[in-house]
Structure formats: C-alpha cells, structure tokens
C-alpha cells in the first residue's frame, strides 16, 4: 500500500492500515480471528510499521492490481508508472534484519524480562563493519526486584557497549590499528552489570544473554538460563549452556533431559548476575554464516516450545518479527507460565 501511495499519491487513512493486516494475513481472515488480537498482553508485541521495501514484498500482484479502496479509474501520475512485475519481485535483504517480542505470559502479574536490541549498519567507502547488540535478561526476586534487576542489567551492558565499542568504532580513523576488542568490552560490560545489580538490587538477580555482532562475527556473553540458539542449514543448535542445577546434573550424567523437564528444582540457577562480587561469565565467539539466524530467548519460551518447533516457525515465517510474534503465541498456548521474550536476528544470504 505504501508503495502505491508513494507512486500515485493516495491519502493515508486508518482504514487503509487495517487492510494492511487483512491483506498480509489471509488465513487470519479465513478463521475470523487475528492471532495477535486474541491474546491479552501481546498488543505491545504486534508488528511495528513495516519498512517500505518489506511492505511491498507482502502483497501479491493480484491484490495490488485490484485494490479494494481505490477508484478503478486509472490515474495519470506525474511520474511514469514502473513496470509492475519487475518492481514487485521480492529480493532477499542484503542486510541484517531482526525482530523482537516480549510478553508477560498467562500467569505472572509482571514482566521481569528485559530486552535490548541495536543494529548499526553503515555502507560507505570506509567499509566499517556493522555492529549489533542484542540482550535478553530474565530477572529474579520478590516485589519488583526481578524486573529492576533485568532492566539495570540490559541498560548497563548497552551503555558500556555503545560507548566503548560502537562509538569507538565510529571515532577511530579507518586505518587506525588501535581498535577495541569485542569479547573484552562485552565481558567488562557484563561485569559492570553485575556490580550495578549487586549494588542497587541486593535481593534480586537476573540472567543475561548478550550477543554482540561485528560484521558476521558473533560474540556471546552468558550467565543463567536464558538461551542463544544458532539456526543454520535446517539445524537448530543451542549455543549457550544453562547455569542451572538440572543442566549441571545432566552434564554429570546424573539426570536425563527428559527427567530435567519435570525435576522439582528445574528453576534453580547456580549462577546469575547480582549474586556475588566475583562472577564467571561464559563467553565465546563464532561466525554467523550466510542465511543463518541467531535467536535469544528467556526460559518462558524454551520451557513451553520445543527446539523442533522453533526451527519450523523460524523457517516458515516471512520475517523475523512474524516468527517472534508466532513464538510468543505458541508459548502462551503452551501455558505461558513465565514471562516470554524472544529476539531473532537474520543474517542475509
């Protein structure tokens, strides 16, 4: 619609926006229910206005040529009309795109999860690498301690990373060899978050899974049981290790994965942000291959939805945002026993 509006100069209207949803979700119309609306709490999670170029890819040619709200009389535009088929051919994005969604779930009365996303691309003669930062934190503690702990953690990490890595990246001369080191700045950021949470929320704590990207290189810092998954070539792989009692027992061969799912202490962590002055953070780096996807989520998602389901949803969704929204819906359908947060980053190729 946006595309046509730009081309022909049709006025913006609310009805037009509602049609936007209808057109992109024919199945929802058929069922008479739009999935985002049927569940409470997902309002914030619905898609933001799609960027121009993405919007175009959603329309079928038939709907474009017979728009319902338009006067059928063709107008003579001020510019010559572009050849329709060619201009509407969907091209895969050459750039990283991502979606995020967070939801309170069906049981809890506050959302203790926090999420941060940032992606800075530059295309110029200087060829500076792109930088991305994605953080999921799941707070723990009574009253409002949990939500504050996770909020502080993501804010402190984001601030430290943007100041000491991203701004540094923009400030240095192209050939300067004195460059910040991604894994070290990220580790410092998580330690700073630990200090801040310990100091400000003595009774609370939080998990943190922070993924920083420099071009196609991924660096992850992780504490707790939120997770990062890598999805590439029809395979999904959990790349973080839960710092939970049950995971530890699995590693010691004292518990099976199936037993862990019903273990009375499956929600017990042995490591979290804000618990002690000394914090050991898992960090690792790996390369994101062409077409691969990175998913971060809190336990509210992975406790309710299987890995196989993740893979299916992520691969069948048209956009990362659609996949995120769908995953939240599934987790709520599965019980929504905890807050649910998911970030999905898609690498071009």
């Amino acid at each position: 619609m946006n595309f046509l509006r730009r081309l022909i100069g049709a006025p913006t209207s609310d009805t037009d926006n509602s049609k936007h949803t209808d057109l992109t979700k024919p199945s929802a119309i058929a069922n008479g229910v739009a999935p985002e609306i049927s569940l409470p709490g997902t309002a914030t999670a619905s898609s933001p206005p799609a960027p121009l170029i993405q919007g175009v890819t959603k329309y079928s040619t038939q709907e474009i040529t017979e728009p319902r709200d338009f006067d059928p009389t063709p107008m003579f535009g001020v510019t010559r009309q572009l050849p329709p088929l060619e201009s509407l051919t969907s091209k895969p994005s050459k750039h990283v795109i991502y979606g995020l969604s967070t939801d309170i779930g069906m049981i809890r009365n506050n959302n203790q999860d926090s999420v941060f996303t940032f992606y800075g691309s530059s295309v110029s003669a200087e060829s500076r690498p792109d930088f991305g930062l994605f953080i999921v934190a799941d707070g723990m503690g009574g009253h409002h301690d949990g939500e504050h702990a996770s909020a502080i953690a993501i804010r402190v990490i984001a601030l430290h990373m943007l100041e000491n890595f991203y701004l540094a990246l923009l400030k240095i001369a192209p050939n300067d060899v004195d460059r910040p080191i991604l894994s070290e700045v990220l580790s410092e950021a998580v330690q700073k978050a630990n200090e801040a949470v310990s100091g400000e929320i003595p009774e609370g704590g939080t998990t943190v899974t922070a993924a920083a990207m420099l071009s196609d290189l991924l660096c992850v810092a992780h504490v707790g049981d939120s997770r990062a998954y890598l999805i590439a070539q029809d395979k999904i792989e959990q790349i973080t290790r839960d710092h939970s009692l049950v995971q530890r027992l699995i590693e010691l061969d004292k518990l099976t994965k199936e037993e862990a799912e019903t273990h009375p202490q499956r929600n017990v962590l042995y490591r979290a942000i804000g618990q002690s002055d000394e914090l050991e953070v898992d960090t690792f780096s790996c390369r994101l291959g062409p077409g691969s996807r990175l998913m971060l989520c809190s336990d509210g998602l992975w406790n309710e939805v299987s890995d196989a389901r993740f893979l299916h949803i992520v691969q069948s969704a048209k956009t990362p945002q659609e996949a995120c929204d769908h995953l939240i819906t599934l987790a709520n359908d599965g019980g929504g026993r905890d807050n649910i947060t998911v970030v999905l980053v898609q690498v071009p190729g």
Partner: protein
Amino acid sequence: MNTEQFAKEPSNKNPHGVEGTLQVGSVLQGRYKITGVLGVGGMGSVYQARDMNFPNVTRYVAVKEMLNLAADPGLRDMTLKNFEREANILAELSHPSIPKIFDYFSNKDRAYLVMEYINGRDLEALVNSMPNFLPLDMVQKWGVQLCDVLHYLHTHKPEPIIFRDVKPSNTMIDQHGNVRLIDFGIAKAFQTNQKGTMIGTEGYSPPEQYRGEASPAGDIYAIGATLHHVLTRRDPRLEPPFSFPERPIREANPSVSPELEAIVQRALAYEPPQRFPSALAMKEAIEQLSSGGPALIVHTNGAADDTKDKNDEFAAAGKILPKWKFKCEDEIRSTPMVYKNMVYVGAYDNNLYALETKDGNFKWKYATEGGIVGTPNIDTDNNLIIVGSEDKHLHAIDIRTGKVSWTFPTNGPIRGTVNATLGHVFFGSDDGALYAVRLTTGRLVWKFDAGAPVRSKPAVTSERIVFGNEDGDVFGLDLSGALKWRFKAKRAVTSSPVIVDDIAYFGSVDWHVYALDANNGWTVWRYRTTKPIISTPVIVNKHLYIGCVDGFMYALDTSANGKEIWKYETQGQIVSSPAYVNGALYFGSVDKNVYSLDVKKGKLRWTFETDGPIASSGAIADGMLYIGSSDHYLYALNP
C-alpha cells in the same frame, strides 16, 4: 599461628535492617543483659549477653533469637513445639565441639536459645582474613575434630542426629584453636518455603540433599566440601554445583599432600556409598596422615588415576628410544618435513638433507650458501621441495634428485617458512618484503613491502594472506597482494598465523596470543601469557596449543574466547611449535627435552632428552616423530 587471633570482639553497635533487633542494655527474662550483636540473619539475630545471675563474675552467653513468622496460629504452635523438641535434644548433648545449651524460652513471636558464648571466629571469616593458606597441620586437626563431632552426632541414641549444614561459617574456631560446631539446624523449622525461579547455590550440600535425603554420608560430603574450601581458598558457592572433582586441591594449593587430597575427594564422591562409611573412618584416615603413618585409603576417584598416570609416565619414559638419529654438521632449528618415506630437514650447516624414514639413510643433500632455518615445503605436483636460506635465496629443488630447479633472490636472509600453495610460493624475507613467486618457474608475481623483516610463515586461504613482521605488524592481503587490513601487536610477530574458520591465530613477542578476524583484522580475543611467544599454534577441535618463552605449553579454548584449559610447565623456554597426533602433543623445550603431553588434561606422557636445547618442531608421519636438536642430531622417535 597464634590461636588468640581467632578471638573476636562482638559489635556493640545496633545493626540496622532487622526490625525489632534488641537494643544493647535490654534484659531478657530478667537475667540476660544484651551486650552486643554477634550476627544478624533473616530469621533473627545472635546476641552476646551477660548472665546477671552471676553478678560478681562476668559470664557471657550467646542468645540466639528466632522469629516465628508463620501467620497461621496452628502452624506457629507447631513451629514452637518443634523448636522446644530440638532444644531439648541439644540440651542433652555433651561433646567438646558442641556449645552447651543453658536455657530456652519464647516470647510473643520470638523464641530464644541461650548457650555457651564462644570467643572465636568462624572458618569462613578466618579463611577470608588470611592472606595465605591456613597451616596444613591446623586444617588437618580441624578436620579430625569435625569428623569426631559429626561421628558423635551420627551415633547419638536413640536417634542419630544429622547436622545437614556443615560449612565453614558454621564451624567456629575458638580462642584455643579448637572446632566448635554452631547453628544446629534448629532455625530450619522457622523458615518458610520460597517459590519461583531462584538462585540456589549448592555449595557444601551433597547432591542427594535436594531429594530431602539426610544421612551421615551427606554430612561427610559437607565436611569434605568445607575442607576443600579451606584448603583451596575457593568458595564452592561461586562454582558450578558438585564440581569438586574437577577442581583438584593440589592444583590450587600444591603444599597439600596427595594423601590428604585423596581423603577430601573421597568424602566428596558423588555417590554416597563411595564416600567414607562413617565420619569415624574419615577421622582415622586424617589421623593417619597427622601421625605420619601410611595412609590406609582406598582410592575410589580421580586420585587413583593420578597414581596410575604417574606409573605410566615412568614406565613409558624408559621406553622412548630413538629408532635412529642422524647427525648434521651444525644445529637443527628448522622443522623436518616428511613425504613418501623420506624426511627432509634443513640445518645451520647450510644443507637440506633427504633421509629415508625407515633407517635415516642419507639419500642426498643440497647445499645452500647460508643456514636453513625454515621448514621445507613440498609441491607434490611438480616434485619440488622449496626452502629459504640465510643466503638470501629461495631454493626450489627436485625432490627426486636433490638438484636445483630454480632459485629466487631477495635482499635479505630468508628465515621464515615458505608456503607453497595455489600455484605460488608465498614467503617473507629479512629485507622486509613478502614475495609471491610462481611455483613452476620462480618468477616474481608480486612483492609487498612490510617495512620490517618477515619471519612468520604466511597463512594463505582462498581469499586471504595473513602474516606478521618483526615490528609487530600483521597484514591481511588479498591474493593479488593488495593490503586489506593491518593489525599492530606491541612487539614482533614471528609466530606464524594459523587460520581456522576465517580467524587468524598467532602469538607475539608482546606476551599475547591473538585471534583476529581474517576478514577485517579486528581482534576477536587475546590471551596474555607471562613471556614472549615465538611458537606457532596448532589448533585441533577448537583447542589451541602454543608454547611460550615462559616455559609453559598452553591449551586455550578457541570456542570460549581463549579461555585457558590447562598449561604445562617445562624447565626451559618453548619456542618449538607443538605437533599433534591422536590426542597427544609433541614439542621440544630449551631444557633439551622432547615432551609428549596428553592433550585432554595436559598430563605428561613421556620426555626424551637430547644433548642440546630444542628449537625445532616435530613432524609426525606413520607413527614416527622426527625432531631436530641443537645437538646437531635429527631424531626419529617412536612415540
């Protein structure tokens, strides 16, 4: 150690934060006048009080206060009854390590226990306050006393008493240096259950505790955990649960005897039947150590393996004999190359030698005008062996005859190893340039001015060439020799980069191992050693092995941003690069020995001594290890 330092004055300040904390000077039951606060917890406080029934002497008691927080009146009654029952049990206990109970009473929403005042400090505070490890004889004595009191409790009649909560903070050391066990789980009855995701640190608790099992074996585990903490100074609450076997005591504190370590690790066995059958048995095992007698311990865990490893070492050490050795006329510092039953090695006597692998028989030698430092490279398509020499020339020799095919001149000695690949030879020279010459003809294709001598072997992938120079610059070129990026280490990069998954790994004389993104030269991670690095890394299954002038061979996890997996110390610098085959590493040290380590844990497999420092790296083929030494010999070892 003077045990009087264990004595501690109570705080006479009223702490903030706990509602209704008693004021100093208030009197309980008309008898116990509060004189200070010994501790504050979520469930109430512990006070120091003076017993006013003895007005003429200053007799202190400890008063433990517990809040009865249950909202339901029935539950509150039950809580109180449990408290009274347990207080009665405690009152009849009599053991030198158990504080005496004098009195108990309850008052509105609180219950009080009056007991012997212990002038001392708990073990946790003691460990934290000491700059070094506590003396071993003292720790052993406390171990014995802990076992003794736990054995007393476990054999209590009619019912055994399980303590459930042995840990350093519950183990007081009084002013005489003796153990006093405090905080009998009596407060547990007052704790309300928590729900939801929580942080639970297992710390000192045995694995079976979460199932609600309480047994003497659980207390034995906790004694082990307490001793492990005191001996290693590493708090188990900050470590993954049940990770004691992965954290050997002697690694943190080498002054601990293997026997004591074995006792502690046995107490910490995951499965209760593998621990000591009783606290008494554990006590006797520690006493055996103290008396200097032979330790009668049955090894059931990792400690047993250690002994076995050692036997293997000694047995194996005797076995390593060279199958053959070949003497050159000068030192060998370069690395041999093996191809088709032949081994090729360059020496400082200016010659490149071709020897038969089966017996070291000399086949041919090729003389250059200078010493050969780099490793020869073989181009199988053209039957060429290519090597640089200090005579400033690159030499391409027919591998079958030992006759020259072509040479290429540079303006400086060639000390680096060449890389013959993709139809070209890439190599650096001390003249400060990196050269690409055509493999078949030796014609120059391009030359890159690096500004300082290049001695590292260039790493070449299908789209990138990465190498370092003696000024610490590392360059990323494309295959046409155009500069794509530059990185700067603070000192020379003589170590040759190894590229895996587009990440270039190398060491520098600036004491770091670096991992750079080969696409853009940004550092992915770095790891700091304690001396310069010249050795070239080898990477197997995401583990990187590299030697350092500080004498250590390091194993780093490339999938965990260079986290150290282990390090192994030799008695000399390691400039040799490790060779890997079938789970074992082989390298030489300036201490004249060839080493073989097990890669998993960095344990020594064997050593072989030569008569000179070793700078050469090993080459392995068909189960044989070929390595040169500055004693002029090339050795063929059967590893």
